[in-house]
C-alpha cells in the first residue's frame, strides 16, 4: 500500500523537468499577442491625450465666452440694435404705460434734465463736436458696445442732452397729451452713439480691444517658449520610467486672414528616461523643425488657437555613448496637436500657454534593434509672443 507522502513524492519526481510538446505556432502567437498589447496601450495613452486636449479646448471656449458676455441691466445684448429696451425710468415717459407712484412726475424729470444739462454742457457739446449726431448714430450703430449703450440708456439725463440735435429733428418729435416728450421713446429705440461717451468713461476692456485689433492686423509674430514635458514610452514596460523633460524653442508665425495662420521655427528637447537595471538616467536630446497650421477663435482679450502639424526631426543624440547604436540620429516625423491660449499685454506683446501632444510616427530605434521604440510627448508650452510692425 502507498502512503500519501510516497504518492506525493512519486508525482513530484515524475513531473520534474518533464517536457511537453509545444504547438509549432506558439512563438508566432506570443509575438502577435505582444503586438496586440502594445496597440492597446498606445490606444489608451492617445485616447487619454485626446481627452485632455478636448477638455482644454472646451475649457478655453467657456473662459473666452465668459469674458465676452457682459451683464447689462435692462438690456438684451443680442437684440440691442433692433429692439427698444425700456427700463423703469423710461416707462415714466411712455404714453400708455402705467406710472408707479414712486416714480417721479414727468415735469419733475424735465426740470432735473434741464438743470443737469446746464451743469453738463460738455456732454451736449459732444454732439456738436463730432458733427451730426445722426451721422455718428448711423456709423456706429452696428459697432456700438453693449457696455456703452447700457450706461447711456440707464441715465435719462443724457437723452435731454440731444434735445437740439439733428436726431431729434429728423425723428419729428411730438409732445403727447400728457406732456410726455416722445423723443425719449424715439431715442431709446435709436442705437446709442459711441461719441456721446467720453474717453474717460470708456472701459479698459474697450481700449484693450483696440490694442488687440491693432495686433491682429499684424501679419508676423514671433514666439519664444519653454515647456515642461512628460515622455510617454511605448511599448510600455516597467524597465524604463519617464522623467520630467523639457523643450525650448522659437517659432515664427504668419497670419493668413482673420482666423488662419502658419508657423515654423526650431525647438530643442531633452527627453529624460530612467532605464532601471541598465544605464540609469538617459538624456535623449533632439532638435526639431515644427511646421504647423493654426485656426484662431475669439476676439477679446483671450484668443484660442488650435495648432496642428508636423515636427521634422533634424538631429537626435544621446549623452550615453554606448546607446548611440540604439537610437536613430534622425528619428523622423512626429504629429503635433496643441491648443494655444493667448492673453494680450499690449499691442506688441502677449503671453500664451499651449498644452500639446506630440505623437511619434516613426520608430526611434535603428532597424537592427529588434524592439521598436516610440516616445510621444505631452507638455505645455509657456511663452511670450511679439508682434512685428506691419
Amino acid at each position: 500500500m502507498i502512503s500519501d507522502n510516497q504518492m506525493d513524492e512519486f508525482f513530484k519526481g515524475r513531473f520534474r523537468d518533464y517536457p511537453s510538446a509545444v504547438p509549432e505556432d506558439m512563438w508566432e502567437r506570443i509575438i502577435e499577442k505582444k503586438k496586440r498589447d502594445r496597440v492597446f496601450w498606445l490606444f489608451f495613452f492617445r485616447l487619454f491625450a485626446i481627452v485632455i486636449l478636448s477638455l482644454a479646448l472646451v475649457g478655453g471656449y467657456f473662459i473666452f465666452n465668459r469674458k465676452k458676455s457682459v451683464s447689462v441691466i435692462g438690456m438684451d445684448s443680442t437684440k440691442m440694435n433692433h429692439v427698444p429696451v425700456i427700463n423703469d425710468s423710461m416707462k415714466a415717459r411712455v404714453p400708455g404705460l402705467p406710472i408707479r407712484k414712486d416714480q417721479l412726475k414727468l415735469s419733475q424729470i424735465n426740470e432735473v434734465d434741464k438743470k443737469k444739462n446746464q451743469k453738463e454742457k460738455p456732454r451736449v457739446n459732444y454732439s456738436d463736436k463730432f458733427g451730426s449726431a445722426k451721422e455718428n448714430t448711423e456709423e456706429n450703430a452696428a459697432s456700438s458696445k453693449v457696455e456703452n449703450t447700457s450706461r447711456v440708456s440707464s441715465t435719462p439725463i443724457e437723452f435731454s442732452a440731444t434735445k437740439d440735435s439733428n436726431v431729434a429733428k429728423e425723428n419729428k418729435m411730438e409732445k403727447g397729451k400728457d406732456g410726455l416728450d416722445k423723443k425719449a421713446v424715439v431715442i431709446a429705440t435709436t442705437p446709442i452713439i459711441k461719441a456721446t461717451i467720453p474717453d474717460s468713461l470708456q472701459s479698459k476692456d474697450s481700449k484693450k480691444s483696440e490694442t488687440k485689433n491693432k495686433s491682429d492686423n499684424r501679419k508676423w509674430n514671433l514666439d519664444l517658449f519653454i515647456s515642461p514635458d512628460y515622455p510617454i514610452i511605448s511599448p510600455h514596460n516597467d524597465r524604463e520610467l519617464s522623467k520630467l523633460s523639457y523643450t525650448i524653442g522659437i517659432k515664427l508665425n504668419r497670419s493668413l486672414g482673420k482666423n488662419f495662420s502658419i508657423k515654423t521655427g526650431i525647438q530643442y528637447s531633452q527627453i529624460n528616461i530612467n532605464a532601471r537595471d541598465s544605464f540609469g538616467i538617459i538624456h535623449l536630446m533632439r532638435l526639431d523643425l515644427p511646421v504647423l497650421a493654426g485656426y484662431s477663435m475669439g476676439n477679446g482679450n483671450l484668443k484660442t488657437t488650435i495648432n496642428g502639424g508636423v515636427d521634422f526631426n533634424l538631429y537626435t543624440w544621446l549623452h550615453v555613448t554606448n546607446l548611440q547604436d540604439f537610437f536613430k540620429t534622425n528619428t523622423g516625423l512626429s504629429l503635433y496637436l496643441g491648443v494655444n491660449f493667448e492673453d494680450k499685454i499690449n499691442d506688441r506683446f502677449s503671453l500664451f500657454s499651449e498644452p500639446y501632444y506630440r505623437y511619434q510616427l516613426t520608430s526611434m530605434t535603428i532597424s537592427s534593434v529588434s524592439s521598436m521604440k516610440f516616445i510621444d510627448i505631452v507638455g505645455i508650452n509657456i511663452g511670450a509672443r511679439y508682434y512685428f510692425k506691419k
Binding site: M1, I2, S3, D4, Q6, M7, D8, F10, F11, K12, R14, F15, D17, Y18, P19, S20, A21, V22, P23, M26, W27, R29, I30, K33, K34, D37, N237, D238, R239, R276, D277, S278, S370, S371
Partner: protein
C-alpha cells in the same frame, strides 16, 4: 551559444533573438506546468502564451539571485492560476462521493507513465487540481495556498485530501481495467 546571463540580459534589452532562444529552451518544461493546471490542451496553450508574455515583460525584475528556471516556473504557475481565476473556478463547495479508503499498490503506480499521470490530474475538478499541484508539485504550504487562492487553510487541507483520494480511486480503477 548564449549562457544564461547573456540570455537574460538579451531579453531585458528586448532582443528578439534572445527571447526566442529562451522560449526554445524552456517552453517544453513550462508547457508541462500549464498542462497540469489546465482543464484541457487549449487552456494549457493559453496559459503558456500568457506565461511568456509575463516573463518577457517582467524579466528585468529577475535579480540573478537563485534559480532562473525556478523563477520562470513561478511566473508560469502565477499565469496559470490567473487564467483559472478569470474563469471564476470554485475551490470551495465541491463535494465528492464517499470514497473507499483503499490505497493502490506502489508497483501499480510505478507502471504509470507521466502522460497517464497528467490525464489523471486533468480529470480532477478545478479546485482539487489547483491545490494538488500547488501543494504536491510546487511544494507550497496550506497557509501559502490559502493566501494565493484567498481561501481558508482548512479548505486547502480538505481539498487536498479529497484530491488524493480521487487519484487513488482512479489508479485502482486503472488497475482493474486490463490493458
Amino acid at each position: 551559444m548564449l549562457n544564461e546571463r547573456d540570455l537574460i540580459q538579451g531579453c531585458i534589452r528586448k532582443d528578439t533573438i534572445a527571447q526566442h532562444t529562451l522560449f526554445e529552451k524552456y517552453a517544453g518544461i513550462l508547457m508541462t506546468i500549464c498542462r497540469r493546471y489546465a482543464g484541457d490542451q487549449h487552456e494549457a496553450e493559453d496559459m503558456l502564451q500568457e506565461a511568456f508574455i509575463s516573463i518577457f515583460s517582467h524579466i528585468n525584475q529577475f535579480k540573478f539571485a537563485g534559480s532562473f528556471e525556478g523563477w520562470l516556473k513561478r511566473i508560469t504557475v502565477n499565469a496559470a492560476i490567473k487564467i483559472l481565476q478569470k474563469r471564476k473556478i470554485k475551490v470551495t463547495g465541491i463535494t465528492h462521493d464517499q470514497h473507499e479508503l483503499i490505497s493502490p499498490d506502489i508497483n501499480i503506480i510505478s507502471d504509470l507513465n507521466t502522460e497517464d499521470l497528467l490525464k489523471l490530474i486533468n480529470q480532477l475538478p478545478d479546485g482539487y487540481r489547483i491545490i494538488f499541484n500547488l501543494y504536491v508539485i510546487e511544494g507550497h504550504s496550506h497557509h501559502e495556498i490559502a493566501d494565493i487562492l484567498k481561501i481558508k487553510s482548512a479548505t486547502s487541507r480538505s481539498q487536498l485530501s479529497k484530491a488524493r483520494a480521487i487519484l487513488k480511486d482512479k489508479i485502482i480503477l486503472l488497475q482493474k481495467i486490463p490493458g
